[in-house]
Symmetry: C2
Subunit: 233 residues, 2 copies
């Protein structure tokens, strides 16, 4: 059995610890050996997310783990997620403009680390749980962004490197992600999505709002704890 497993192709999976990345890992796990990558970047709920990362990695018995710290995004600021002077807005899921939680060009930092690591490991894929349609409108969550990054990998790595970003949930609605996670037995109880709190999820920030709506529309109860004044979206 061990030998068969080792012949599987290898994928770097970006695991923030949230719902989308957990379900993305569940999908990657079907066809790839997994190397888990987590990036802390000075976001408010950093240590809670790191805990979720380790617990999801334990669940899937992932040995190859890399946890990195990116300090530059906090030094640069400009986002409510990394700059203590900017408040995390109340959710408004019908909002059209880019919210204050947008971290400028954040995903490129994550994908650069994933590509460097993937090139050294000889991996064939990078999985990331970006979601376009049902997301907060971040420009670096759209399919064309990942196509452009794949072009960059093609020209920017060694000729023998054969590495490609895969975004299995990018066109899914949150409710479909919940359902896929349930179907694949993903450990949704270990995930963390809240932008504000590290104990009980606030239930009121963008990320909580999208998550709660997703579970509600999927007809599934969210297994993580929420604070008492949780809004209904």
């Amino acid at each position: 059995m061990a030998e068969i497993k080792e012949t599987k192709r290898l994928a770097v999976v970006l695991v923030s610890g949230g719902l989308d990345s957990c379900v993305t890992a569940a999908i990657a796990n079907r066809d790839y050996r997994m190397a888990f990558l987590h990036v802390s970047y000075g976001q408010r709920t950093e240590s809670r997310e790191r805990k979720a990362f380790e617990e999801i990695a334990d669940f899937y018995q992932v040995r190859l783990r890399l946890a990195c710290q990116v300090d530059s995004l906090r030094q640069i600021g400009g986002s409510s997620l990394t700059d203590a002077k900017i408040a995390v807005e109340e959710a408004d899921v019908s909002r059209r403009e880019i919210p204050s939680s947008y971290v400028p060009f954040r995903n490129a930092h994550f994908l650069s680390i994933a590509t460097s690591w993937g090139e050294v490991l000889g991996a064939q894929a990078i999985f990331i749980g970006a979601v376009a349609e049902d997301s907060s409108g971040y420009p670096d969550c759209r399919p064309e962004y990942y196509e452009a990054f794949n072009d960059l990998i093609r020209v920017g790595t060694k000729p023998e490197t054969d590495l490609k970003i895969i975004t299995p949930v990018i066109r899914a609605r949150k409710s479909e992600i919940v359902q896929t996670g349930c179907r694949l037995g993903a450990p949704l109880h270990l995930t963390w999505s809240c932008y504000r709190s590290e104990e009980n999820a606030c239930g009121r920030c963008d990320s909580c709002a999208l998550r709660l709506r997703g579970f509600r529309e999927a007809g599934v109860e969210d297994p993580i704890p929420y604070g008492i004044d949780q809004k209904i979206f």
Copy 2:
């Protein structure tokens, strides 16, 4: 005078402290206000390069400075520049394959930071002193790599962001870079290029070899100190 200066467009300039980035800054300085960005990534000569960065910034009276630390490249390893277990090779400037000093996908880390900072500052340009023809054959130093990264910036930043990478020396030979630097009064005496040493340049690594050949072909004496067993290329 001060008022006229403030109306100039703003550019983030990646300044490693080496010859190419110093001359790139001299070029950017003609048309832009400059914000200097330096990235330490666990390379052997990190503190010497940082010193060169600060001195070049002082020379150009640059107030906006950001010095970042990228730990992930050392964690990942796979290069003689960041992995103490891999020796820095003797130079072979006629070599065709990618040398051991190649740091996998390194420039994407730098450009991601530059783009995040540029987006927050409202800058119009990112200058980087990449050199294709006369470089060590790194895949992320070729013009098509920067075209691909500009595509990524276009799709991956806010609609109102108008930021573009400029590579003014990418098609230049090292000797032309030296000559341009002399013509523009760039402080070449403040630069550092050696991959190995922090006091006297070794004169024998790839970076020293290319630099020395460039000065020789330009007919200019290299103003920095070298160790006594310097090779002639």
